[in-house]
Symmetry: C2
Subunit: 502 residues, 2 copies
């Protein structure tokens, strides 16, 4: 049974159990695995590896597309199997191991991991573990709900384990576009000129002599949990939609905008919901992830095409897509993440990039990875790939949180992921700061007045004014610049204890 999913007959005797596959992994190996924002990940082999009993040291470097589902990252960390992990994660257990220094994490631009592998700037991939829908007669494989770095892993790995996921219909064939830019010094142009340009083939070529095992699964992706928009996200979305309307009035954009990219989360959902009943039309996406809101916009007739590297949706949306696949099939395309996130294409298409900040400073620098400047949250993901090449680079955050004990607008961010040179727009639930064409001193006034929470506004202005007395292109008081975050660690609040000042 299911042998029709392995069309090259010579491969049919490679079928093994996940537990057998888990025995292939040796201490010190580098493993490349499919999976991007919990879609199309290994659901059996890595899990069996995480459960594998070992008395000798068994530590691997694990490289994926992006985050994995099914708690696999946490289980691997708990069983002491991860030496190094890149380029992204969202697992609450793994996060603890990273922040204690027990697992070494490399926080990489998602568009660059494949580059680093191609350039041999990372160790060679010993084993690739790739979820696929089927193996075609020519030996090539059809990916499932993501491509991520799978094409590069398959090309470069010494050995390959395939997980054939029977829960994915083989009719998924056709939504993937696999393209290799080639190697230096003869790299090719990536000839995408529209979100829907097809430039490659719909399966990943594979040297079948490298396949050391095939494992069958029948497990769905970990579903996305969709948080309903709340007052803050609705406010942020509303400021942003007003801004886009003003750009149209100013003649800089049309009602079709330019291709959209949005990070995962509530704000993106709120913005996309705002498009549903609106004057916007013929929208397109050139992004990393297709979320529930993408398909809602297609349903509403507002979105004509969406390109990304994965589909990460709720269970209900997942079902909707596969029950009505013909409706969506010609409106979506999944690409390798070095193509979905390629600097070249992002700049050429003119993306409107909307990503979430942990904190922004008064000069427009953005921290999107580190809590208190030291602890890793998830990683930079693709935000940098998009932010620095976008037509409009937009960051959203709440003005304050945790009973307003944390201000997300601070004098100086405690870690910089996106520099002042790259950030165009900052939006909070208090307002929007358009930083285009502004010098640092102009930005400070605008960010403080438009975006900060009123509880912190006088403190920010006071800091800025005292810093200006010391002078400088970007006025700062170095002894105080990170005091807010230090106070938060110490007292649980960025607020100044008034009694302490007496």
């Amino acid at each position: 049974m299911n042998q029709e999913r392995i069309q090259p007959t010579s491969l049919r005797d490679k079928v093994i159990t996940a537990q057998e596959a888990a025995q292939f992994f040796k201490n010190g190996m580098t493993v490349g695995s499919s999976g991007f924002t919990r879609a199309g990940d290994s659901k059996a082999v890595l899990k069996a590896l995480a459960a594998r009993k070992h008395t000798d040291e068994l530590k691997i470097t694990l490289i994926t597309g992006a985050s994995l589902g099914h708690d696999v990252d946490g289980q691997l960390a708990e069983n002491n199997i991860l030496a190094k992990r890149m380029p992204f994660q969202t697992d609450s257990i793994l996060r603890k191991y990273i922040n204690s220094g027990e697992v070494l994490f490399i926080d990489q631009h998602l568009g660059e991991t494949a580059e680093l592998i191609n350039n041999k700037h990372l160790p060679e991939i010993d084993i690739a573990v790739i979820e696929v829908a089927m193996i075609k007669a020519d030996g090539s494989v059809i990916p499932t709900t993501s491509i991520g770095n799978s094409a590069t892993f398959i090309e470069k790995a010494k050995a390959i384990i395939l997980e054939i996921n029977l829960s994915i219909p083989t009719s998924i064939e056709g939504i993937h576009d696999v393209f290799y830019p080639g190697e230096y010094p003869n790299r090719k142009i990536i000839p995408i000129t529209q979100a829907n340009t097809i430039i490659g083939q719909n399966s990943i070529p594979l040297d079948i002599s490298k396949v050391i095992g095939i494992v069958f699964t029948n497990i769905a992706d970990s579903p996305a949990t969709i948080a309903e928009p709340d007052q803050k996200t609705i406010a942020i979305a509303s400021y942003l939609l007003d801004f886009l309307r003003d750009e149209i009035k100013a003649g800089r954009l049309t009602n079709s905008l330019l291709p959209l990219q949005a990070g995962i989360g509530k704000v993106a959902n709120a913005i996309f919901e705002g498009f549903v009943d609106s004057e916007f039309h013929d929208l397109t996406m050139y992004s990393e992830v297709l979320q529930d809101s993408t398909f809602d916009l297609i349903d509403a007739g507002k979105l004509t095409f969406a390109s990304a590297s994965s589909i990460t949706v709720s269970s209900a949306c997942y079902e909707k897509i596969f029950m009505n696949f013909d409706k969506y099939k010609d409106k979506i395309l999944l690409r390798p993440q070095n193509i979905s996130n390629a600097a070249e294409v992002i700049r050429r298409l003119g993306i409107i990039a909307i990503n979430t900040a942990i904190e922004c400073d008064i000069y427009g620098n953005v921290n999107s990875t580190h809590v208190y400047g030291t602890k890793m949250m998830n990683g930079i993901g693709g935000s940098g790939d998009f932010a620095r090449n976008a037509y409009l680079c937009i960051f959203v955050t709440q003005a304050a949180s945790k009973g307003n004990n944390i201000s997300h607008i601070v004098p100086m961010v405690s870690h910089v992921d996106h520099t002042e040179h790259d950030v165009d727009i900052i939006v909070t639930d208090y307002g929007l700061a358009d930083l285009r064409g502004l010098a640092p001193r102009e930005r400070a006034i605008k960010i403080i007045n438009n975006c900060s929470h009123p509880d912190y506004r006088p403190l920010l202005l006071d800091y800025y004014q005292r810093a200006c007395q010391e002078g400088g292109h970007t006025p700062h008081l170095l002894n105080e610049a990170l005091e807010w975050q230090a106070r938060l660690i110490e007292t649980g609040s960025m607020k100044v204890d008034e009694f302490a000042l007496v």
Copy 2:
């Protein structure tokens, strides 16, 4: 006389003096001017504007390619004519005005200014002031020693003043390659696949009805001052050349390397000198600026082609080039800076990018613009365009300076221009840290041990170890992180006064 430099006869009555041209400028105007690293700048009109007596307010926004020569920036600042300046400057007088807040400066990626003008994210250009070698019969103009943003200024400006520089031979025709990527949503591919690919035309098309004045000059570019390599720069160059040799041994590069980019300065000269008597051959450059060392390498038969946006050389080299122009003409190409610095091309060609840092931190973040975190030095220039898209992103700095009172390796940089996500290699006169594939904690050990000055090494290790006790993916002590720079401001040294500790 010289009328043959104005081939469209209808334009010949537009010839005026620089003082007459200076009268065109009105308060509030935005001016776009040629000039990139002091090459091909306006030598008469902006100087006359800087000298223009005015009782009413006369403040302009001045956008250039990059830095101007002939002290024009300082003179404009001193005569209170600059309201806003972008995207780069290197003038010691203007710098004071920027740091006091009297002139607003926008520190922009050099590759992005033309994008921002095209996208109407900056104010419309009222007047363009462009140095040219001649106006051809079809109305198009031949630039001189740089292109910078001239093609965009000429296309977008409401009015144009041309400065015909008679000191530039008209035989310069043919070294320019002018290409427009077009406008959203129909941007074109930039089809450069080698440093020497010609994709455009050799002059800048011009709507002659926009020309409001033509001024003749006969003044050479401000010459580059070439500092001889010293012990530190020779050490840095030596570590870097050894590294490149190791990369060749490891099979990642060949003796022809990949196209080189180098910022202006002593280190670049020392490295390029190192190539002269070496096993490297058939080198190419895809950079911003052609410097003396570029032509030395061509003379040595080591460099086959060099692409950039300007030629900035010493007087002696300038003379050498124009006396032997036939020898160099087919080996060099000048491009608009949005092409020389295009993310798309830099990634595609696989540039080895070598730029100078003001300070680096133990995790690999780089400050290349701000002294003490607040005072602007020159600007980010093209370093970001190259750093984030390069095949290898290399930053060089001295380990310590000013009698070793300043350590250029610090716990935390006081301003971030290049993030830890992007920096591959840091080199000082004490050694080289290869950060590829390393997590922050691994980087810290390597940077401290390989790159820091021995006077500061124990202090850096002490900081790092105490930070690790607090935990975190990127361990920091926020109360101390910027203390080194604060101490420098206060005491003139980053060193701890031992008596103060008693």
